[in-house]
């Protein structure tokens, strides 16, 4: 510890396992690491309990009891087929099993609902209550929680393995802190590229950037074209009630947008033509009567605006889900969340969910089963690694670059304008949902210029600048991977390649900081990134 004292950081902590991010995945990881006997620190940018997309929503978990076994076989077979070649049955069985075993253990802190037949329902939980319960559980295991403490960068030992992280206590005079840890779990969520997706404001892709700086690669970053309906000008991207919506154009003509898998795409096309309005009059009366006790934040929006959604027509929009209800993230080598970097694990939306979701959105069921299970696996594995370490005292090198340590002369960066330009590439339907090679090339150029500016000139100082670097890195991997996938598959739709190409029934890896690369994920270990290499 004598070495550490020389650093200017004011708060310095040593622990076995550090968890970055306190949403569903981070909280389950902290619980499991502590259960495995590790000393655990969990740091969240916001507050563990309210931050992240878990807290503001109501995750329904993928839930199939083990008995009869045929039910799980059928669920996995369906998902493999729907996943269009990118899913893996083994991983699906693992998360189904882990979710089924683990979720009910929260009953000490969460009051699971009882259905009209008196059966306990575990799979569907309400976000704020769920995250409040997880916080209580985490605290009950003696985990140290650092709230309002965004992690800014990872720290590496001289062998490249990860030995901690640095961040800032933003409600404590922006005091710097540093955690030295035997292993680190990144659970910092996905990113919506700052769309108004409910609960996604703190998720700026920081966990992806930090992983890449440590040497990890991404997988499935092209699958960011997920969108969710919300009343215009609101964040309420909770789609249940819209399963019964009737849609109209500006002239009052009814639109043909039946409930089903391509409803979002049809709605996007309608929104390209003009404003779209909707009513929920067809929602069954018994559901109308209970909507405020099913999802209390949904009717709240209408009530405050004086709209009767069952009679009035209100304007709707689509918010981008990015990698949240999309599926890309840090490539996981093993179901335990191990990355290609020793000492670094990932869980939840910070990890790629292709193996459990396939090429389609994991929202609605698989994502939360994955967030829970991957948290449990990664927390347990990180605890094991930390415990097996002989000596902790090592010099640690900070890995942060873009937005912290510029290559060149520091200059002021207009963070707000840069963020708006990222949004302008990642949100419009004509760029990110209905993709074309030419459009992606133009986006790439814009994003490269922005990246160069931030990487060359952005200096440490604001959390917002570091977040902007993470948004840019994530957008660049997404655009480059989308440009490399010359076909349409699941969430990835290319107007210039509308069909599926059987040769591309494989996962695409991506990575790189100043030079972005994309490569086919080959089953053989000898594969070299290079096949599909694009530098942009």
């Amino acid at each position: 510890m004598s070495k550490l004292a020389a650093f200017p950081e004011l708060l310095s902590i040593t622990t076995d396992v550090l968890i970055v991010g306190g949403g569903m995945a981070g909280a389950w990881a902290a619980t499991s690491a502590a259960q495995a006997g590790a000393k655990v620190v969990l740091a969240d940018k916001g507050y563990c309990g309210t931050s992240g997309v878990t807290a503001a929503a109501g995750p329904g978990h993928w839930w199939v009891p083990p008995d009869p076994a045929a039910a799980r076989d059928a669920a996995v077979a369906n998902r493999i087929a729907a996943g269009l070649g990118l899913g893996e049955a083994d991983w699906m069985y693992r998360i189904l099993d882990q979710t089924w075993r683990t979720l009910p253990t929260l009953a000490r802190y969460y009051k699971f609902g009882t259905d009209d037949e008196g059966r306990v329902n575990y799979r569907a939980v309400r976000g704020p209550e769920y995250m409040r319960a997880l916080r209580q559980q985490v605290l009950s295991y003696g985990v140290t929680i650092l709230d309002q403490s965004p992690v800014l960068e990872l720290l590496a030992r001289c062998d490249g393995s990860i030995g901690g992280a640095r961040g800032q206590r933003r409600q404590d005079g922006s005091r710097a802190y540093r955690v030295e840890a035997g292993a680190v779990v990144l659970a910092a969520g996905g990113t919506s590229f700052l769309s108004h997706l409910l609960g996604s404001r703190t998720n700026t892709g920081d966990g992806y950037l930090m992983a890449a700086e440590a040497g990890a690669e991404m997988s499935g970053m092209e699958f960011t074209a997920a969108y969710t309906i919300a009343p215009a000008h609101s964040t309420m991207t909770r789609s249940m009630a819209y399963a019964f919506a009737t849609y109209y154009d500006a002239d009052g003509g009814e639109l043909d947008l039946p409930f089903g898998p391509d409803q979002t795409v049809r709605l996007a096309r309608a929104l390209q033509r003009g404003p779209v309005y909707c009513t929920l009059q067809r929602l069954p009366d018994d559901v109308k009567a209970r909507l405020h006790t099913i999802s209390p934040n949904v009717p709240l929006v209408f009530d405050r605006w004086g709209i009767d959604p069952y009679r009035d027509r209100f304007e709707v929009t689509l918010h981008n889900d990015g990698t949240i209800r999309g599926i890309g993230g840090v490539r996981v080598h093993d179901v335990n969340g191990a990355t290609s970097v020793p000492g670094l694990f990932v869980a939840g939306d910070n990890a790629s969910r292709e193996k459990v979701a396939g090429a389609i959105s994991g929202g609605g069921n698989v994502n939360s089963a994955w967030a829970l299970s991957s948290g449990v696996f990664a927390g347990t594995a990180a605890a094991r690694v930390a415990r097996s370490m002989k000596s902790r005292s090592a010099e640690l090198t900070p890995l942060g670059r873009a937005g912290l340590r510029p290559h060149g002369r520091p200059q002021d960066i207009d963070v707000a304008a840069t963020r708006d330009r990222v949004r302008a590439e990642m949100h419009p339907f004509d760029k990110n949902l209905f993709r074309t090679g030419a459009g992606l090339a133009a986006s790439s150029q814009t994003l490269e210029d922005l990246w160069s500016e931030v990487a060359n000139h952005g200096q440490a100082g604001s959390i917002a600048l570091r977040e902007t670097a993470a948004l840019l890195a994530t957008a660049r991997w997404s655009v480059a991977t989308a440009a490399a996938r010359d076909e349409s598959r699941g969430l990835h739709r290319r107007e210039d390649y509308p069909a599926r190409d059987p040769r591309l029934a494989a996962r695409l890896l991506s990575g790189g900081l100043d030079q972005v690369w994309v490569a086919l994920d080959r089953p053989s270990a000898s594969a070299q990134p290079g096949q599909l290499e694009t530098t942009s």
Binding site: T50, K111, P231, S234, M240, H292, P296, R304
Partner: protein, 128 residues
């Protein structure tokens, strides 16, 4: 975005400052939390849930500021409404958490859509 903290209700407990995921609020010199960075507000309504004094009003508008009058909000009965309907804290026995119904609603919607497809004339609502 968060638009109002009703001064006479606020007990200055600090909970909203602590739990706000987007760090929108600062402690004020006179006790009342200050809406310091409203532009960062993610319109998640979490501060309302954690305010036991029902002093906070978050407008559903996430991309525009709206003017909110203290008198109207007080008269509307909407302060504390989200906490109440959530069955949070002292409301637990009054409003059951029926989140579990969600999957049933989706299932019924799927069935209704399938039925209306079956009843539709050829050519309408097909895949496109």
């Amino acid at each position: 975005m968060i638009e109002l903290i009703v001064a006479e209700r606020c007990t200055d407990c600090g909970a909203c400052i602590e739990v706000c995921p987007a760090n929108v609020l600062d402690p004020g010199t006179d006790g009342l939390p200050v809406l310091a960075r409203v532009e960062d507000c993610q319109t998640c309504f979490m501060c309302e849930l954690y305010c036991r004094a029902d002093a906070i009003y978050v407008a559903p508008d996430c991309d525009r500021r709206v003017s909110v009058s203290r008198e109207d909000v007080l008269a509307s009965g909407r302060l504390g409404q989200y906490r109440r309907h959530s069955g949070w804290d002292e409301w637990a026995e009054h409003f059951p958490n029926e989140q579990w119904l969600m999957e049933t609603v989706f299932r019924r919607a799927g069935e209704a859509a399938a039925q209306s497809r079956a009843e539709r004339p050829e050519g309408l609502g097909g895949k496109k």
